[in-house]
């Protein structure tokens, strides 16, 4: 054990000390020393953080602690007198807590109860959420008219029941108490009617000049109804212009399509048919990639080593979850990817010169062997040329129609958004604009810095600037008028998913603040302010429906959530002959620092910045919360003597920004990656001031990559990464907590994972040896268990947000995360292995293991955590007195403690949002995963009432339901026919820390990879293509 070095003054609450995050800084990591240590000692085979790899003392101490340093100490400023007063009162009241009198409560029944409403039973409505214009089909759970949870729509092929973090978290966006609540004119609260009156005069003036001074700026739009309305608007004001801009635009995808086909087409992939996949900087397994839920499903379905496995090659400039899943990953700088693509095209016989490398040869040979069943996917941030090359390679190998399908575009009017915004800026500068309507866009914050949008819009002399959106944000600040938007859960609309099929967006609740939908706003611009969003949507579809009986058709469509038969059919397009011309200086000089821009994995372009769930969600690779440090590679850091949390000045084309750095394993050398979306000024109490605004150095001519100068500053900035927290102590070499092997190894020895463990005999224990199949103990014979397939898990975090939402988990804030008090019941650990510059990595979701021999239970002095007859490790919140002994004794570190009153008990919006079937925990209470026992109970009661057994698959835990890759399977392990039993019977199944004889109910399926034998010998070698 590491020495217990908690000094007395640390724990004495009387000592005055403020919760200063900077002062908690453990001895910072010295990378040079790390390198030396690595050379001299043998670190664990698998590691989660670079500190762990180096085996530093600080890390060892942290591992032995129940919570990270600071979590259990009293650090808030608090006087001795105040402490004594509180403690005196606590003592006096300690024995009386059970004697509280119930407050008088009221029952407010309906006046006329809706027909299908059964109080206490949720209803589910089909709807959709949108991200970047692309819709995701969802089912929304509603309790007595309050939406409480978002799931995927199992009937829609784009979801198949799975959802992603953005869809899940949009629920919190709706209940966000910082949302704009009224129309505002010059800072004064106004009414919608007042707005309509004012705009009518303005628009009449524009009518007279055919809309010459009228400009509309929107985000990307896939809604057929809204697009139709905008077309009508443009007909009414023929000289008006419609501009579109979103900072995470897909301009390069569009330009690549124009380059290859001369027209705009949507590229869809059929990964279920792909034996070999090559990603050129495409993070297609991450939720911001259109269609990722389906792609993840199809990709993961081919990860079963007992069937035909696929193989994934990833060439990437920024470490991503897709790169983690790769059999072979090549770490290149963003500018070098095009060279790789050209070489690949050349070696496949498309012409040009091929730079030779082992990696390239292996990919090319694999592709040739799998012509027609392979696919190249190019990333949104890569150049149009890379996209055109990908199209050319796919066509050349005969993949089109098999693994790649081209269709009409999903977006209604795809344009080069950067150019579109540049045009608008030009018009504003030339004072051509009189009426500027900004619909759900935030250019003042997120426009490229060289356009100076804020100055331009202020000095444009536009007589009416109108911002419409959910928040009174940076753009609203510079507009005379702001109209509060209705959230997509509050208003009727529609939108297209990645395959083109139209989803109907159905409101679940009347607008909380009387917000208007975009349809209603556009109608008001046309003088039709009395139309409701529902009228507009219905009348559009009345014109489109091919059914004679519209009412029946409409009811079915709204019920199903999508318009049947609207998926875009495949389109026959052929790429132009020849390769795209080589642009000069495509690859930057190897010694310059190349900077890549990315959307943030959690808060996207900044639109989720005020969403506490998303801010506190550990990002897939770095496990960073609440911040957006710039990533640099270990090699660069070592050379420049930079450490994580060091501040640097990043200078790009004359503009500079100060930002902390984070050393990300696997990041290429001489490159830096920055994440957009942070550093917001006006979004709300959660997002204001969090992180750093990198839009300030982004320019319109190089939105995704350029060169930069890095100057270290003599400052540090505390970051809240959970990467090193909850590290499990084990003999990592012989019995690692994650286990993986190659397909060849698996074929030779299928039970390689089990061979690593020694499970003691069942009767060698002092725990009560319970037989869960004994009907005298457990009458109905259910024994709940779970498997997590590490081969399928892509680390998308959907399970974490689903769990947050389902189980009313509080958000704690950055200072509390720094001291390790975050509350996630399920975490997704990222383990790295091998060379830090190009490690292989794995994800491991860790919920409560529900041990049969649960170490936590024996040490609880008040019986607040005990076993149920079905083998669940129950947690009784109202009994817990907060000794934290259970957590101290949990080898998996899955218990979370409410050190402070983290839950918001006051805000009325949050009261409406919570799941009524799960207790709200207060301060001083331990909490943890219970396999969604509320869902088990409902299913059990229903089945008992109907006198039948619970069917396999009837109960889905929240994490399982959200998971796009079906990695999580839950069910009855007493039933040998259940899916979970069959998975547990597989040779790949293993228990984490089985040697402790805890007999966990949650087990893992070891990951099997399918490496190319051609590359296997030097799998981790960094190569340059």
């Amino acid at each position: 054990m590491a020495p217990e070095n908690t000094k007395r003054e640390d724990t004495c609450p009387g000592k005055k000390k403020t919760l200063d995050v900077q002062s908690l800084d453990a001895k910072a990591l010295d990378l040079a020393a790390v390198r030396e240590e690595i050379a001299s000692t043998s670190g664990p085979e698998y590691w989660r953080s670079l500190e762990e790899l180096a085996g530093s003392d600080e890390f060892r101490e942290m591992m032995h602690r129940e919570f990270p340093k600071g979590a259990s100490e009293w650090l808030d400023s608090f006087s001795r007198r105040g402490f004594l007063q509180t403690m005196g009162a606590s003592l006096a009241l300690a024995g009386m807590t059970a004697c509280t009198r119930q407050p008088l409560e009221q029952i407010v029944p309906y006046v006329r109860q809706p027909e299908d409403m059964i109080p206490g039973r949720p209803q589910f409505y089909a709807s959709a959420t949108t991200l970047g214009g692309y819709a995701s089909p969802v089912l929304v759970e509603s309790h007595m008219g309050r939406p409480t949870k978002i799931e995927g729509n199992p009937d829609h092929p784009a979801s198949l029941g799975a959802s992603d973090i953005f869809a899940q978290a949009s629920l919190l966006n709706m209940y966000d108490p910082d949302r704009s609540q009224t129309p505002v004119y010059l800072g004064e609260t106004r009414s919608w009617k007042n707005f309509v009156d004012q705009i009518r005069t303005r628009m009449a003036g524009q009518r007279a000049v055919e809309g010459e001074g009228f400009r509309l700026l929107t985000g990307p739009i896939s809604s057929p109804t809204l697009a139709n309305q905008i077309q009508a608007l443009l007909k009414m004001y023929p000289k008006a212009k419609w501009h579109q801009y979103s900072p995470l635009h897909r301009d390069n995808v569009l330009a690549g399509s124009m380059l290859a086909f001369g027209q705009a087409v949507e590229t869809q992939y059929r990964l279920e048919a792909a034996d070999v996949i090559l990603s050129l900087d495409a993070d297609f397994l991450s939720p911001s990639f259109p269609g990722s839920a389906r792609y993840t499903h199809d990709y993961a379905a081919r990860r079963n080593p007992d069937a035909a496995m696929n193989r994934l090659y990833v060439v990437e400039s920024v470490p991503s979850p897709t790169g983690v899943k790769a059999e072979h990953r090549l770490s290149l700088r963003a500018s070098e990817v095009e060279g790789f693509a050209r070489s690949l095209a050349a070696s496949l016989g498309l012409g040009g010169n091929a730079a030779d490398s082992r990696f390239l040869r292996a990919v090319a040979d694999d592709f040739k062997a799998h012509a027609g069943s392979c696919v190249v996917i190019a990333g949104e941030q890569q150049s149009p040329e890379v996209h055109a090359l990908a199209h050319a390679i796919n066509a050349h190998l005969g993949n089109v129609g098999k693994t790649v399908v081209y269709t009409d575009t999903v977006l209604a009017n795809p344009v080069d958004q950067t150019a579109s915004l540049r045009d608008l800026t030009q018009d504003l500068r030339e004072k051509k604009v009189d009426v500027l309507v900004i619909l759900d866009a935030n250019p003042v914050y997120d426009a490229p810095a060289d356009l100076n949008f804020a100055d331009v819009v202020l000095n444009s002399g536009a007589g009416l600037r109108l911002h419409y959106g959910l928040h009174q944000n940076e753009t609203a600040e510079l507009c005379q008028w702001h109209v509060n938007a209705a959230h997509s859960l509050e208003a009727w609309s529609d939108g297209r998913t990645y395959d083109g099929s139209v989803c109907i967006i159905q409101p679940l609740i009347a607008p909380l603040y009387d917000g208007k939908s975009a349809h209603e706003l556009v109608a008001a611009l046309m003088g039709q302010s009395t139309l409701t969003g529902h009228d507009i949507l219905r009348s559009y579809w009345q014109g489109q429906a091919k059914s004679a009986d519209f009412e029946t058709w409409w009811r079915k469509t709204v019920h199903d959530g999508f318009v049947a038969g609207t998926a875009h059919p495949a389109k026959a397009v052929t790429p132009k002959a020849g390769l795209p011309p080589l642009k000069a200086a495509a690859a930057a000089d190897a010694s310059t620092i190349e900077v890549s821009f990315r959307g943030d994995p959690a808060i996207y372009d900044g639109s989720f910045a005020n969403n506490g769930w998303m801010q506190e969600l550990p990002k897939p690779m770095s496990k960073m919360t609440w911040d957006n440090p710039a990533w640099i590679g270990p090699a660069y850091a070592a050379r420049k003597g930079l450490k994580s949390e060091d501040m640097v000045t990043l200078e790009i084309a004359g503009r500079s920004v100060q930002v902390p750095v984070w050393i990300q394993a696997g990041h290429p050398d001489n490159a830096i990656t920055v994440f957009l979306g942070y550093g917001r000024r006006r979004v709300g109490r959660v997002g204001n001031g969090a992180g750093f605004n990198l839009y300030a150095v982004r320019s319109s001519d190089a939105p995704w990559r350029t060169t930069a100068k890095i100057t270290p500053l003599a400052q540090t900035y505390k970051l809240a990464s959970t990467q090193g927290y909850q590290t499990i102590e084990t003999a990592t070499i012989t019995r690692p907590v994650i286990r993986e092997g190659s397909l060849a190894e698996y074929k030779k020895k299928p039970n390689f994972a089990q061979e690593m463990e020694e499970t003691p005999e069942r009767n060698v224990t002092l725990y009560p040896n319970v037989d869960y199949s004994d009907p005298n103990y457990n009458k109905l014979g259910y024994a709940w268990g779970m498997t997590v397939d590490l081969g399928a898990c892509v680390g998308c975090n959907a399970c974490m947000i689903a769990c947050h939402s389902e189980n009313n988990i509080p958000v704690v804030g950055k200072p509390q995360v720094v001291v390790g008090r975050h509350m996630h019941w399920i975490r997704v650990d990222a383990y790295y292995q091998g060379d830090r510059d190009n490690p292989s990595a794995s994800f491991q979701p860790v919920p409560c293991m529900q041990c049969e021999n649960a170490p936590c239970e024996l040490v609880c002095p008040v019986g607040a955590t005990v076993h149920s007859s079905e083998g669940l490790n129950d947690m009784v919140y109202n009994r817990c007195i907060g000794t934290r002994y259970c957590s101290n004794n949990c080898p998996y570190k899955v218990r979370r403690f409410n050190f402070l009153l983290f839950q918001d008990w006051e805000t009325p919006q949050f009261k409406m949002m919570r799941n009524p079937d799960v207790s709200i925990r207060s301060r001083g209470v331990m909490e943890k995963c219970t396999y969604c026992v509320q869902r088990i109970t409902v299913a059990r009661i229903d089945s008992e009432r109907e006198e039948r057994a619970i069917q396999d698959g009837e109960i889905q835990t929240a994490c399982q339901q959200a998971c796009p890759s079906n990695a999580i399977v839950f069910g009855n392990i007493n039933d040998p026919q259940s899916k979970v039993s069959k998975l547990k019977a597989q040779a790949r199944n293993y228990s984490m820390l089985a040697e402790l004889n805890t007999r966990p109910r949650t087990t893992y399926l070891a990951e099997v990879r399918n490496p190319n034998p051609q590359l296997e010998s030097a799998e981790h070698a960094v190569e340059h293509g």
């Binding site: 059970a98 004697c99 009198r101 119930q102 008088l104 409560e105 009221q106 029952i107 407010v108 029944p109 309906y110 006046v111 006329r112 109860q113 059964i118 109080p119 206490g120 039973r121 009907p775 005298n776 103990y777 457990n778 009458k779 109905l780 005990v866 076993h867 149920s868 007859s869 079905e870 669940l872 129950d874 009784v876 919140y877 109202n878 079937d917 799960v918 207790s919 709200i920 219970t930 026992v933 509320q934 088990i936 109970t937 009661i941 008992e944 009432r945 006198e947």
Partner: protein
């Protein structure tokens, strides 16, 4: 050195030891009783209601079934308090001018709900489900008491955990055949008054209870006293 304390002090000191024990015990017993008193549990206490609704009149007098108003008691965790519409089904025809019913008519006219005081109020960390209790043969008045004899409604039970566990530890003490669940007149079997179930007459609750436990597939005591049965 002279003794500081007089000999008689010995008696006082002994008495004070006894007194401390006695007083402590009394305080404990007092708290014990206080905790179970109607002041804490509201057992038998009526609360102010917008309309002095009489279950006695509607149930015993008019013979209206429980489920006419408490419609979801067999399907949901809540039995449901009826919407104003249910009251007006009859009261749009009878007692249409009664002053007592003005709040009901006002609610119906204005669309504003009647606001009732909750009588059987469990703590928020307890999840009770009516439907499964009805299904397993727990009568309405087993928990809610003689509702048909209550001119004003009150909670008949303490709803404390020991009260719940009394049944969960030995459900056979209270079960009745399903078709008797809503029968307010039902009496447990006795020698003179047998209860017939499944074609057999039972003269004592114990054997009837065991037969019902078997017939209705009640889970074991280990199952239904697991914490997550009610807490989650």
């Amino acid at each position: 050195m002279a003794q500081i304390f007089h000999r008689s002090i010995n008696l006082y000191s002994k008495a004070s030891i006894v007194a401390v024990v006695l007083l402590g015990g009394a305080a404990f017993a007092g708290l014990f009783a206080f905790e179970r008193s109607p002041y804490i549990t509201y057992q038998g206490v009526t609360k102010p209601q917008p309309v002095p609704f009489s279950h006695q009149h509607h149930v015993a007098g008019l013979g209206i079934d429980c489920r006419y108003c408490h419609t979801t008691v067999e399907t949901s965790n809540y039995a449901s308090i009826p919407p104003t519409k249910t009251c007006m089904n009859c009261h749009s025809q009878i007692w249409t001018n009664a002053a007592l019913l003005e709040p009901v008519r006002d609610s119906y006219r204005s669309g504003r709900s009647l606001v009732w005081s909750k009588l059987n109020d469990l703590p928020d960390y307890v999840y009770f489900n009516h439907s499964i209790h009805i299904n397993k043969g727990v009568g309405c008045n087993t928990c809610h008491g003689p509702v048909d004899k209550m001119p004003l409604m009150y909670a008949a039970s303490t709803l404390q955990m020991e009260w719940c566990l009394d049944c969960h530890r030995a459900p056979e003490k209270y079960l009745r055949p399903r078709d008797e669940v809503f029968n307010m007149e039902y009496k447990q079997p006795a020698n003179g008054e047998p209860v017939s179930f499944d074609g057999k007459d039972y003269t004592d609750q114990k054997t009837l209870g065991m037969a019902l436990v078997a017939k209705y597939h009640l889970r074991n005591v280990t199952d239904i006293t697991s914490c997550s049965t009610c807490h989650r």
